[in-house]
């Protein structure tokens, strides 16, 4: 069953639109309202373009476009399929909301160099969508590197000592891993297959490489996409928390880290092929690596007092859920892992928005200082609670569905160890999230200022975080679009 491909330039435009938005953003640098208006318009156009492709993808077809053949047999090419669509939709819709939020946050804190901030923000989004819609490993790699570089000025936005060391760690990890691990694997695959790097639903590596080579390549590629934060290459994520919160929110809960796992998903499904992996029984190794990361990161998260760092470690764990789900190589597991990209994105971004809002309104960074804050910022903390529900995987929030599928996947495969791991980790999630919300609402504040009347953050920020919280809940009631997409993708991948 090969769905007919449609040739259309829409995916290219979807990626380009935010790149082009840089020009008006820089030109309008002096006038903040217009500048952010341009950002908004670009975001909406981008979302519109991606959404316009949704019906085609839902119908089981794909959209392809080859932009430029840069080296013989190696093109910058775009292809939209269901998997890419999930990610594209999530990233582009969240961009709009994040723009709204960052307006509130940046203005509230009177940050410097906002033009630069919004420009690189747009570039990062272009790269993210580029990754989502890449048709081959080369294009993927290209946009992946572009994303690493474009986010550097965002991470180091404050330009102080802390930002410098954080930025250093960030780039060292990402660039080292990608140059040392991904690039050689890429070229090796290129040579071995005689010039094929295009993603194929069932993988194209089978028959070209032996078992040991496949294992080495798998490990190189898994760790090479260090953005996925699989331990031990995870330390860049907490370090990158020096960035302004909107950056952390979009890039480190959504775009950057999700690009990492998305790349891994793509490589497993499009390069190796699920059948090939399960024939060689390579999934098991990855599940163990992922399981280790899940448990350890949850334990570390428990010990963190800095809210953003706790969220960062939580993210590391959640990312490994996705990898783990994929590595189960069962239909339900794969579906679950794809859905988790979307569900976790909405949940986690809510949490980050809340952390940012708290910091902006009160200047508090540490969880121990947030006792009783619910009285002062009820909306924020309510959203926080909903976000936590989603990340833990408790009904009333979208995260429930993806986690259900992941658990189902383990059962389907008979991997009860993994079932236990997932459940334990959910418990740990609950253990590090619930106390925050609980103490915020039900404990007596230590800080007397919290007793005062309700005083939320900048309205833009509040609107943004309420919006994401509502969507998170809506996704519980109506997970259909993502579910359908994930199902289409899974069928496509499993049935060749």
């Amino acid at each position: 069953m090969t769905p007919p491909a449609i040739i259309s330039i829409t995916p290219v435009l979807a990626s380009l639109v935010s790149l082009l938005a840089v020009i008006p953003i820089i030109l309008l640098g002096g006038r903040a309202n217009l500048r952010e208006g341009a950002s908004f318009v670009a975001g909406i156009v981008k979302f519109g373009l991606i959404a316009s492709m949704l019906p085609t993808i839902m119908a089981g077809s794909t959209i392809e476009y080859t932009l430029w053949e840069i080296v013989p047999n190696l093109a910058i090419a775009f292809r939209v399929d269901a998997l890419g669509m999930i990610f594209g939709l999530v990233a582009s819709s969240l961009w709009i909301i994040t723009t709204l939020y960052s307006i509130g946050y940046m203005r509230g804190l009177k940050e410097h160099a906002q033009t630069r901030f919004f420009s690189y923000f747009s570039v990062s989004l272009a790269a993210t969508i580029g990754v989502a819609f890449s048709a081959n490993l080369f294009t993927l790699f290209l946009f992946y590197e572009m994303l690493s570089l474009a986010t550097y000025p965002l991470v180091t936005h404050h330009q102080d000592k802390e930002a410098r060391s954080g930025g250093r760690t960030y780039l060292t990890y990402l660039l080292t891993a990608s140059i040392l691990f991904v690039l050689p694997s890429l070229i090796y695959i290129f040579i071995k297959t005689g010039g094929g790097l295009d993603f194929v639903a069932g993988g194209f590596l089978e028959g070209h490489v032996g078992g040991t080579e496949a294992l080495v390549l798998l490990i190189l590629l898994t760790f090479g996409f260090a953005k996925a934060g699989i331990m031990p290459l995870h330390s860049w994520l907490p370090a990158a928390m020096v960035a302004p919160t909107p950056v952390s929110a979009l890039l480190h809960a959504v775009a950057v880290v999700k690009v990492g796992v998305f790349c891994i998903l793509r490589v497993y499904s499009g390069v190796f092929g699920i059948e090939f992996l399960s024939d060689l029984n390579l999934g098991t190794i990855v599940t163990w690596i992922a399981a280790f990361t899940v448990v350890v990161s949850s334990l570390i998260a428990l010990t963190q007092d800095n809210l953003k760092r706790r969220l960062a470690f939580s993210t590391i764990g959640q990312l490994s859920y996705i990898v783990l789900g994929m590595a189960l190589l069962t239909p339900k597991g794969v579906t679950g892992s794809m859905m988790h990209i979307a569900m976790h994105a909405w949940g986690k971004i809510t949490l980050f928005f809340c952390a940012g809002a708290i910091f902006q309104a009160t200047g508090k960074k540490y969880i121990s200082e947030m006792v009783g804050i619910g009285k002062r910022m009820p909306v924020t903390m309510a959203a926080f609670f909903i976000g936590s529900l989603s990340v833990i995987g408790i009904p009333l929030a979208g995260g429930f569905w993806s986690k259900l599928y992941l658990l189902w996947g383990t059962v389907e495969d008979g991997r009860f160890t993994m079932l236990v791991v997932l459940l334990t980790s959910s418990l740990l999630n609950a253990a590090y999230f619930f106390p925050i919300a609980f103490r915020a609402f039900f404990c007596k504040p230590e800080d007397s200022r919290f007793e005062a009347k309700v005083e939320e953050a900048h309205p833009c920020a509040v609107v943004a975080l309420s919006l994401t919280a509502v969507v998170t809940m809506l996704l519980f009631i109506y997970p259909e679009p993502f579910f359908a997409l994930a199902d289409t993708a899974t069928q496509h991948l499993m049935n060749r």
Binding site: G29, G30, W68, E69, I70, V71, P72, N73, I76, L109, K110, E111, H112, A113, Q114, T115, F141, L142, E145, L149, P153, T156, H158, Q159, D160, A163, R164, G167, R168, L171, T172, L175, T176, I179, L180, L183, P184, I187, Y188, F190, I191, G194, G195
Partner: protein, 506 residues
């Protein structure tokens, strides 16, 4: 009508050089336009030559009308034409760049400086185009001679470096001359292609003399290209020379020598001889690995910006020597493509270093403090050059590394592949250190506070004559990367005639 383009490539800068001396005595201000005009002619002729080569294959031009081997002949194939075009383009860019620098650094000798600059370009072009082994020696020695002068016109450290260069350069050229003599004693010919024919026809590849000739020529050329253990002359020469000198010589000299090495190995000696009979590939590639690592690590240890870049050249030479000696098509194509790409990316970073020096008067890396805010366009140029050196797509540097790594993998030489990757990382560290200085230089008032609206007043870019070459080079780096297929196809045509193992992936 015989086509004169190949001769004009060379004659234009040469005759302009003589004119510059004459005109410069009276009208010093006329020198700069003359230089640019001459180099423009040269570049145009080089383009014409390249187009003809693409269209009609190898181009032959006999000097004096004597058929080879009696006379001296230019035999221009894709490789020559490409490298010649590269050389003349770089010369043109550096000449434009020199507009303000030369009066500032060598104010009393403007015409002399420009003459030497044009002459060195002539020599380099001559080296690229000539088909005569002895003629190459003359050019080799004289280009070095001119370089000594261009370097010695700098600070007093540069004078010391120039002397060291003079000694080592003479040893290198003399070794080459001896090698040619050893070939001559066995073959009786001096024309490169003729020597090759005689070597093959009389089965001289078994002779010790030819072996010694090969060693002498190779070692001589290695000294000239600063291949790692023989690189001592390079760093200080390029670090302390006048700005324009290092912009012109830094990218070009070593690359032209790599071209000479390729020409000698493939055209004069046979690939069968150099690759199969001698079978030294493994050793030389390991030497290249050491060169790459040593160059990159030494660059990491530098605090002087241009010295750091000079060590990068040492590492890059390792790339190319290794690529050539991998003895397969991908490696060779990669090395030649890297030769061209590297010229422009090195030029890009050297132009940047020159601008920083001109603006701040400091040589240290810390001189880049806060440049992102002050000189965003200049920094944009550097970023492109640096990304290319690191090897990030879609810059030219990525694709050269792409082919080189392919070559390394096809040859099964994992040490070389690893060295390439490690050196990429080292360069990443290097340049991000510079970026950090440039980015964090301005301390924002306790981290926050919007001072953007007033930001426009404090831009202080370099003058257009310095900025435009930098931006032009940066865009060339991008263009060479994006249109790498057309360049690679010319190179592949050249390499294809040697029937090496392992074709590049199509």
């Amino acid at each position: 009508m015989i086509d004169q383009a190949p001769a004009i490539v060379l004659l234009a800068p040469f005759l302009t050089a003589v004119l510059v001396v004459l005109v410069g005595m009276k009208y010093e201000r006329a020198c700069f336009p003359l230089v640019v005009l001459g180099l423009c002619c040269s570049a145009a002729a080089a383009v014409q030559t390249l187009l003809q080569v693409i269209e009609a294959g190898t181009l032959r031009y006999s000097m004096g009308g004597w058929p080879p081997p009696f006379g001296i002949e230019f035999r221009i194939d894709g490789l020559n034409a490409l490298v010649a075009l590269t050389v003349s383009t770089v010369a043109l860019i550096s000449a434009v760049y020199s507009k303000n620098r030369v009066p500032e650094e060598n104010g009393d000798k403007i015409s002399i400086y420009y003459t030497l600059l044009l002459l060195v370009v002539t020599w380099l072009l001559g080296m690229v185009m000539t088909g005569d082994a002895f003629n190459l020696y003359v050019l080799l020695e004289v280009s070095a001679l001119t370089s000594y002068a261009l370097i010695a016109m700098g600070t007093r450290r540069a004078t010391v470096a120039a002397f060291k260069y003079a000694i080592m350069g003479t040893i290198g050229a003399s070794f080459y001359l001896l090698g040619v003599g050893y070939l001559y004693i066995k073959t009786g010919s001096l024309n490169m292609f003729d020597i090759h024919e005689v070597l093959v026809a009389e089965n001289l590849h078994q002779s010790t003399t030819v072996l010694v000739a090969f060693i002498l020529i190779t070692v001589g050329v290695w000294i000239k290209m600063a291949f790692f253990p023989l690189h001592a002359w390079l760093p200080n020469s390029y670090a302390f020379a006048p700005t324009t000198t290092s912009c012109l010589l830094g990218p070009l000299v070593t690359k032209v020598m790599v071209y000479v090495m390729i020409r000698m190995m493939l055209t004069v000696f046979d690939p069968l001889y150099t690759y199969l009979q001698l079978n030294w590939g493994n050793i030389v590639v390991w030497m290249a690995v050491i060169a790459i690592l040593a160059g990159s690590l030494a660059a990491l240890a530098q605090t002087d910006l241009r010295r750091m870049l000079a060590f990068l050249i040492v590492a890059e030479v390792g790339y190319m020597v290794g690529g050539v000696w991998l003895a397969n098509t991908a490696g060779l194509v990669g090395a030649i493509y890297h030769l061209i790409a590297d010229v422009f990316m090195t030029l890009c970073v050297f132009l940047f270093a020159g601008i920083v020096f001109a603006k701040t008067g400091k040589r240290d890396i810390t001189a880049t403090h806060g440049l992102f805010a002050k000189m965003p366009l200049t920094m944009a140029g550097l970023v492109v050059g640096a990304l290319s050196l690191i090897g990030i797509p879609p810059t030219a540097g990525f694709f050269s590394k792409w082919y080189l790594i392919q070559g390394g993998m096809a040859a099964g030489h994992w040490g070389y592949v690893t060295a390439l990757l490690i050196s990429s990382l080292a360069m990443a560290v290097l340049f991000f250190r510079v970026f950090e200085y440039a980015f964090f230089g301005v301390k924002p008032a306790e981290g926050h506070g919007d001072h953007h609206p007033s930001g426009k007043g404090k831009f202080s870019e370099a003058s257009a004559s310095m900025l435009l070459p930098l931006l032009g080079t940066a865009s060339l780096v991008l263009l060479i990367g994006i249109f790498n297929q057309s360049i690679v196809s010319i190179i592949t045509d050249f390499v294809g005639q040697f029937n090496l193992t392992g074709s590049i992936m199509r």
